[in-house]
């Protein structure tokens, strides 16, 4: 089956990103296909490369990158949600006249159309969310 996973929560305040990551790994090892992971609302912080977790904790951003590399997974961050929260790639930094960028490698900023397309193409769509 083809799956899409949607993450609505920040890794700093919620267990949801870790649940989502475990879910992705479990579905891949069961032989299913992961079409896309879509990060929305505070989920965009999963792609902030400046977030530095303590060395004895999971660095979720790196874990997503490793997953993307190993299984060629499309990691898409909602562009409007990201800009609002200060997660920028080079193109958006130029557009909004900012000096810095902080979008981690392997993540791409794109629109909600990517979520719609994923919902159409996937057999199952699951959301991992949190409050706040």
């Amino acid at each position: 089956m083809i799956f899409t996973v949607v993450v609505h929560a920040s890794p700093c305040q919620n267990a949801a990103p870790e649940s989502a990551l475990r879910y992705c790994k479990a579905l891949l090892s069961a032989g299913h296909t992961l079409h896309r992971v879509f990060f929305y609302r505070d989920g965009v912080f999963n792609g902030n490369q400046l977030i530095s977790s303590p060395p004895d904790e999971l660095n979720i951003m790196r874990a997503w990158q490793e997953l993307a590399e190993e299984h060629s997974i499309d990691l898409v961050i909602c562009i409007a949600a990201a800009i609002r929260r200060g997660v920028l790639d080079a193109t958006e930094a130029t557009r909004y006249e900012r000096d810095q960028t902080n979008l981690a490698e392997k993540f791409n900023l794109s629109g909600l159309g990517q979520l719609v397309e994923a919902c159409i193409l996937s057999d199952r769509v699951i959301t991992f969310g949190g409050q706040g």
Partner: protein
């Protein structure tokens, strides 16, 4: 048409559980994840309809020290979470 419902909020968020239970159909399954696993404790579970098909993620129950206190049959592994996702037609997340 069956639905797998996941719920990740502790029993302090009673309104969320009420909305979830109110939308459950007879063949749906409720899977408790993250802080939602606290609903498995007897005092909280007693407030839920007895006929409800409830499961909880073992990892999340273990992380919160609940495994000695809850029924073993209710706990599932991640691969079973994937199976449930496949067996139901839709997945609705309550958070």
């Amino acid at each position: 048409m069956t639905t797998l419902h996941t719920l990740n909020q502790a029993p302090s968020n009673v309104n969320l559980m009420q909305s979830c239970v109110g939308s459950l159909q007879p063949d749906d399954t409720l899977l408790l994840i993250e802080d939602g696993v606290y609903w498995l404790l007897n005092t909280h579970r007693a407030k839920l309809p007895a006929a409800l098909k409830i499961k909880a993620l073992r990892l999340d129950a273990q992380a919160r020290g609940l495994t000695p206190l809850v029924s073993e049959v209710d706990l599932i592994e991640m691969d079973e979470f994937i199976n449930l996702s496949v067996l139901h037609n839709k997945i609705v997340s309550w958070f």
